[in-house]
């Protein structure tokens, strides 16, 4: 009896079936978005043979680029356990500002390319600053990010209305003509926005999975207290996440302005919800702590495909687009839940 050794590992309390079920749930959660995307592609092909044409596919990808780029930033914000509701209004604000700057500079005799570049730089700077403001309010101001961005959303939105004097800000036709290629041109037969999206996704994935910052984002989102006791500057990480989001919004907007051609108070309405949906459908936990950039892009593609398929067919009314998207969100949430509660 006294020769017995101390037994200190706890007996494993899982049953075999429980373990199998967990594996299946985990697997479904990991690959769920991809499977859903494949399913949509199959449905698309069945409904309309033109679906897989390069024309249609590059159209879908280009349309996804806007929400896709924003959702890469959104992934960082959500992984750190926060949320940014201001992205739609921020995009409209940045678009308005870029239009004003570009028109003004072109009218005052600047060469068009210079005016365009100055406008783009102004847009990026404003995006970064907007991120800093959101981040500082949420950390130093100790206001929940939901409330902070609800507030800044209202401010951005109303500034757009103010700058447009209640109407619409339109890009001068000469400027627009010069700006067109940024959205409409292709390189190696792939539209520019799709290239930019691809680059943003690759960089975003590397940052989130391979760097110290990415690791800290997950730690802060999982348990900010533990992060604090692990010598991580929690506020810094949170502010940077918002700045990344602001940059992504500005980048997406400057690609999109030539297509929009104008900005008004109704520009970008509900885009924040599409971006958040893309992130969550892609498998990033809304409570923070775990996420993946590629998932958010798959989420954005799923959202665009639903609209695209409804447009190509007449089985379900296009007006039900929102309802189908809603069902997809709920499905994604159910999948996340099943793997969390075991």
């Amino acid at each position: 009896m006294n020769s017995a050794q101390a037994v200190e590992t706890k007996p494993d309390q899982r049953t075999e079936t429980g373990s199998n079920w967990r594996t299946i749930a985990k697997w479904a959660q990991t690959l769920g978005p991809l499977i859903a995307l494949l399913l949509l592609v199959v449905i698309g092909v069945l409904l309309n043979p033109n679906f897989l044409s390069w024309n249609n596919l590059s159209n879908v990808l280009t349309r996804s680029a806007f929400i896709g780029i924003i959702s890469v930033g959104g992934t960082f914000v959500i992984v750190t356990g926060q949320i940014d509701l201001s992205v739609g209004a921020m995009a409209a604000f940045i678009a308005s500002l870029m239009i004003i700057v570009m028109n003004q500079l072109a009218q005052s005799g600047w060469p068009l390319p210079t005016a365009l570049i100055a406008g783009m730089i102004a847009g990026l700077v404003v995006g970064l600053l907007a991120g800093v403001v959101n981040g500082l309010l949420a950390t130093k101001g100790r206001i929940d990010s939901f409330i902070v961005t609800l507030g800044t959303m209202g401010i951005f939105r109303s500034l757009v209305t103010f700058m447009a004097n209640g109407g619409t800000l339109t890009l001068d036709s000469g400027v627009r003509e010069a700006y067109r290629p940024v959205f409409y041109d292709s390189w190696l037969n792939v539209p520019i926005p799709v290239w930019v999206l691809a680059i943003v996704v690759v960089i975003g994935t590397i940052v989130l999975t391979k760097t110290r910052f990415g690791r800290y984002c997950r730690a802060v989102g999982s348990n900010a207290e533990v992060a604090h006791y692990s010598a991580i500057r929690v506020s810094h990480i949170r502010v940077i996440a918002f700045v990344v989001q602001g940059f992504c919004v500005a980048l997406a907007t400057l690609l999109y302005v030539p297509r929009l051609g104008s900005a008004s108070s109704s520009t970008g309405v509900l885009w924040e919800l599409e971006a958040i949906t893309a992130v969550v459908v892609g498998g990033t936990a809304l409570r923070g702590g775990s996420g993946r950039v590629w998932g958010s892009i798959v989420g954005a593609l799923i959202l665009t495909l639903i609209g695209n398929i409804l447009n190509l067919t007449s089985i379900i009314s296009v007006y039900l687009n929102g309802a189908v998207q809603g069902i997809i969100i709920l499905g994604a949430a159910l999948l996340q839940r099943s793997s969390r509660t075991r």
Binding site: M1, E8, P11, D12, T15, N223, V226, A227, A231, G289
Partner: protein, 522 residues
Amino acid sequence: MPPKPQSPPEPAASGPSAAPVPTLAASDVSKAFGSVAVLKSITLSFQPGEIHAIVGENGAGKTTFVKILAGMIEPTSGEIFFRGNRIEMATLRGMESLGVRFIHQELNLAEDLTVVENIFLGREVAKGPFLDEATMRERGRKVLAQVGADVDLDAKVKDLRVSEKQLIEIARAVAQRATALILDEPTSVLTQREADRLFQIIQQFAEAGAAIIYISHRLEEVKRLAHCITVLRDGHLIATRKAGEISPNEIVRLMVGRSLQDLFPKKNYNRDEEYVLEVRNLSVRGYVTNASFGLKKGEILGFAGLIGAGRTELFEGVMGLRSVSSGTIFKNGKRIKLSDYPKALRALCAVYLPEDRKGKGLVVSFDAQTNYSLLGLERFGAYFVNRRAERAAFKRAIEQLQIKIPDRSMPVSRLSGGNQQKVVLAKVLATEPEIIVFDEPTRGIDVGTKAQIYHLIAAMAAEGRSCVVISSELLEIIGLCHRVIVMRASRIVASLEGDAIAEDEIMMYATGLKQAHSPFDQ
């Protein structure tokens, strides 16, 4: 022996042996999870008025056994009896309706509700469709007075201290007239004095005729409180003895197969007069007033005191984890500016092991390796994390601390308490610190792992690192530390060395019965 009438219940004073019908009994109970047998054919009975302690290491099956008694887990085989009647298919609700109350290791209260709402949670008194607030308040007040809890009925539970929460749990049991009370490690979050009060309450319960089933790691309190002690090991019932007939040493021997003296390493300390760390007049608003002390090279400095005396807050202030209102800090005689923890880590070369393992030490959803490298991640690269170097370093840490991890990718929430604590230890030690602050380093872990941690701390000190041990377990402070500082009510009240490091001496300072003029104070 003629059978005695069942009521009134047997008073505890005359001893448990006189009571003929056990309140609760288990007959040949076994439990297996999948293919792993956790309990092997346990037969044991609990008499009314008897305080019956169950001791054993983590994984011995104690908690599983009492959960079966409480109807929370179904046994694989065997029978449960209540007052001699066999219970078919025991459920938590069914057992509760018989008055069997289980008080969890991790308290189970609705944090956002008030005290009175918690006491009557699930058993609200109603008048028609409406709650009868007046009656509940009246009865709630009585019950709180009975357990000696001095809390406001309308206070939210989340604003209470842990010890008060425990009393609320017990008040719930009282309000529902317990026939049997099962307590799983109730004192792991309490100070000595709070524990003493709990013991009084438990004794009152026993005197009123309830059967008490008491699980604990702490042998002194088991010895003091229990009438009867059962030792479990590896799911087997090793022995049941009268408390008076067994020494703590023998209990440990039965539990782990080694004796108490072996728990602590020999105190080896070559006196060094140089202070590595000196703190002068440090104050943390609301927690610490003018604390001054020094820490020497290779020293193990204990910080004793009651919970809430300000020990944790003092060191959180020193480490930049909490803002301080005044005070200066010197490292090797050079003044260091206080700021945040990352700076303290660099400038002081000091780390802090938090007392709250799951709340502050570990991201429970991360795997062990990610947790291990989270503190000082920059050593694996300024921007990119070098996974290969990280994995190699973690492998060395596993070997050094003998951490048992069945599957590298599983979240640390599924490791045992002892192994979780070792992961946190590995995490703070990996930064190669000169100063290590251990806050409650062995809370809620088994004896075997405790001994391992004590030896580790001693080894760290022998290498010339300076260690601070904050602990509410006096045995630990006395067995381990070269010098002990006692705090009371946010102030440092004594610094003890040599033979002065004794239980009574420390307790007298900690509770304010003895007030000395510490050379450091003012």
